[in-house]
Amino acid sequence: MNMIVTNPVSTTPNGTTRPQVRIVIVGHVDHGKSTLVGRLLHETGSLPEGKLEMLKAVSARRGMPFEWSFLLDALQTERDQGITIDTTQIRFRTGSRDIVLIDAPGHAEFLRNMITGASQADGAVLIIDALEGVRDQTRRHGYLLHLLGIKQVAVVVNKMDRVEFSRARFDEISAEISSHLTGLGVTPSAIIPISARDGDGVAVCTPRIGWYDGPTVVEALDALEPAWPLEALALRLPVQAIYKFDDRRIVAGRIESGHLAAGDEIVIMPAGKIAKIRTVESWPVTPLAGKHGAGRSVGITLDRELFIERGDIVAHAGQSPRDTRRLRARIFWLHEKPLARGDRILVRLGTREARASVVAIEKAIDPGALSNAENSAIARNHVGEIDISLAQPIAADAYADNPRTGRLVIEVNGRIAGGGLVLSVDAGQRAVPVDIVPVESALRPDERSARYRHNGAVVWLTGLPASGKSTLARALERRLFSRGGSPILLDGDTLRAGLNGDLGFSAEDRAENIRRLAEMAAHLARNGHIAIVAAVSPSREDRAAARRIADRLFREVYVATPAEICEQRDPKGHYAKARAGALASFTGINNEYQPPLQSELTLDTSARSVADATEAIEGMLGKTGVLFDELVDLAANI
């Protein structure tokens, strides 16, 4: 004999008008989840023929009164213990929905199984025993529904027969649970008085709950909406792998949100590399035309050879996720050992795995408890907010911006130990490994800007060799100094003699050269100086990386002197050498220069004097809030 509910009703797989909704029933242990499920299967006509009679016979043989929950007690072990230890999936139909019911255990010890089950659900039923009322697991499960992002929640107050169908008792419990859920941002779609054992309120409102005129459980389930793919959000394609099975180099992954098509301009995060989608590959028919939306597993090829790896996120240019080494997340914790400040963890976000450490813990509480006493560590089955410092930059979104790339799981010793939502992505603040203690300046930025009469900035002069960058940079430096400012020149060639002496001119070395320049310039700018960078910096991608490093302090000036004029000038004799073949990878001759598309200022030095051009830069700095207006300044001093 096998006491098992197999799939009694098949789903309507294709071309269906009946949405499939996955629901989970959660709540405190023994509040009647399994009984409700058994009753629901019966009321919706979903039981296999003879199953009920067979179960009644088995109960008689065991000398036990029949219980609806026997339907779910599929495992021998469960019957022995009398508790549901894992999630089971059962299907049935309501008026307009195919319901996949995931039964999740209420026992505190099995919270990981409740989460495993509930994470697959579109909606939830939270069950409360009318006699016992709201208990710790009720509150905890409510909290976890919020953390799992489940917003469709119906509450059932079960065992109304045990409180003589008292409306007052029902109202009392309704008030308590509503206020708990509302405080978490979860609005229950209904609160229903039922007796799962006797059937009141499950499929019909019986006279015993005549005072209640809301939906039955079946009606509430019928009103649930299925999850929809996130097509309307920005494109996020976490890279699962790069396949080179034949002459194609296919970037494979699942579109988590948005959509893509061949020809799209994309950016690969966190590196910020730019490319175009050449084809969307498939099998047996390939390539595919048209748009491919969220939920699809796809493979794309690009128009250029780029270093891409598993964990990168493909996005559309201009709508990319943030690259960061620091995240704040609200998490639930399932590991026996509490999560403490300084702990080393592995973070999984999309397909990226990154080593990380916990730099701060706040609001660590037991979501089941009535009090909200905060702890310094997050204990098993508790929740809290943590700051995470990552060993490498990753691409991420805040959960509010993208639910898929805004959530993460935490692994300890190769086993999933927790998970949660990304509250914020801190792009400005770079990695701070726990064993490094950064010392901040004793001076506040406003003290410096009061003296210098400007804010910190990075003025990035880019252009062909001999376009006039260094000349302009020197003139600008002199001008800013004369007005009492604190400019500092960072010349690409000068720094290559020292700090960047280990770098050559390959694409990787150029990128690293730019990164170091940008880091140094950004440091100076954050301390109130104006760092003037004069560097060819031919790659648009590298400059984009520099802009991300300096963020809002970055001002790009494109020195757009025509190539012929640069070559005529050739003060360092580089063009002549390159023409003679003595200089490989010289930008202007053998290497392409990619002009900026959105620089703050463009200057052609062949068409204007140095003084004139310098003044233009000064004007730009004034307009973009770096230099303080002389008149305003004067007025302030009167």
Binding site: T11, N14, T77, T87, E225, W228, P229, A252, G253, R296
Partner: protein
């Protein structure tokens, strides 16, 4: 973050007086009624089968990315044929790991013919592994279960021989209740056993893929499919099937195993459309014809704990 229940004036949620509750619920603003509501514009461009396919491909690619030595268990049945098809889709026509058939030697002739034809046609790296004689198997098991347990032993031998750290298996939650409790990435002990009490959490498509040294993982790419899904997809993709699934003389096989412990069910479904129509009506479980499930209440559970699929 608000932890204490605010003493808000409570709208008694259950008092839905003027309209029927269902109307009220349907009219509720989307931001209350759905988990991903604000961004809803058009209906999704994917249908049910597209969604199942995409999820399975995602799982197969995760397995291939995260495990070192994978094999796909090919039982020759409808489910594992769909799984091979999905693997070809996931990896653009080529299955990049071996397909292993653990052969009891007692399958139907039609199954062997199918294996020999499509193993070649699909370009599979086919590994055929034998099972030990029946004497080597736990004699306390009921006869059919004992016979099926041979396959478990054969599997263990194959594992020891090849050192796979991941086995891809075509089980489905709806087939049988203990399978419903499975994870997508399911760790096995050193002896190949399954500890149903100590399964790691698995959510948001993040999988536990670090088996301890010497142990292995089972990967279940079609765990979320139903029997009807398998047939609808087989029809849509025109995947070849073993003719035993179609009715002949009023009987057909719903599930295929060893010839001596697998029995046909009464049916007149002579093509896939008719099978799907039949599944709409039936209340007979899929594995009704598999004797090993029904010998004792817990026979199947015991097999699974020991490492059966």
């Amino acid at each position: 973050m608000e932890f204490s229940p605010p003493n808000a004036e409570l709208d008694a949620m259950h008092v839905l007086t003027t309209q029927t509750a269902k109307d009220r619920l349907r009219e509720a603003p989307l931001f209350q009624a759905s988990s991903v509501p604000q961004i809803l514009s058009d209906p999704p461009s994917m249908d049910h089968l597209d969604a199942l396919e995409a999820q399975s491909i995602y799982i197969l690619r995760e397995a291939f990315a995260r495990l070192k030595k994978l094999a796909l268990l090919w039982s020759l049945g409808k489910d594992s044929n769909v799984m091979i098809w999905l693997a070809r889709k996931a990896f653009f026509g080529r299955v990049p790991f071996p397909a292993m058939h653990v052969d009891t030697g007692k399958k139907f002739p039609e199954m062997y013919a199918f294996r020999d034809t499509y193993g070649k046609e699909w370009g599979l790296d086919l590994r055929i592994e034998p099972c030990p004689p029946i004497d080597a198997v736990d004699p306390t098991l009921p006869p059919a279960a004992r016979s099926a347990a041979r396959k478990t032993e054969g599997l263990k031998m194959a594992l020891a021989k090849h050192g796979f750290d991941g086995l891809i298996a075509g089980i489905r939650r709806d087939e049988e209740a203990t399978r419903a409790k499975e994870r997508v990435f399911s760790p096995r002990g050193l002896e190949g056993g399954w500890d149903v009490r100590d399964q790691p959490p698995e959510f948001w498509d993040h999988f536990n893929a670090s088996p301890p040294p010497g142990a292995h993982l089972r990967i279940h790419p079609i765990l979320h499919w139903t029997e009807a899904d398998i047939w609808a997809y087989t029809r849509r993709e025109n995947i070849p099937i073993i003719p035993l699934y179609l009715a002949k003389d009023g009987k057909r096989y719903r599930s295929l195993g060893d010839a001596d412990i697998t029995f046909p069910v009464t049916s007149h479904a002579a093509n896939i459309d008719e099978i799907l129509a039949e599944l709409e009506q039936t209340k007979v479980p899929e594995r009704a014809g598999r004797a090993l499930d029904h010998e004792t209440e817990d026979a199947f559970e015991r097999l699974r704990v020991a490492g059966y699929l």
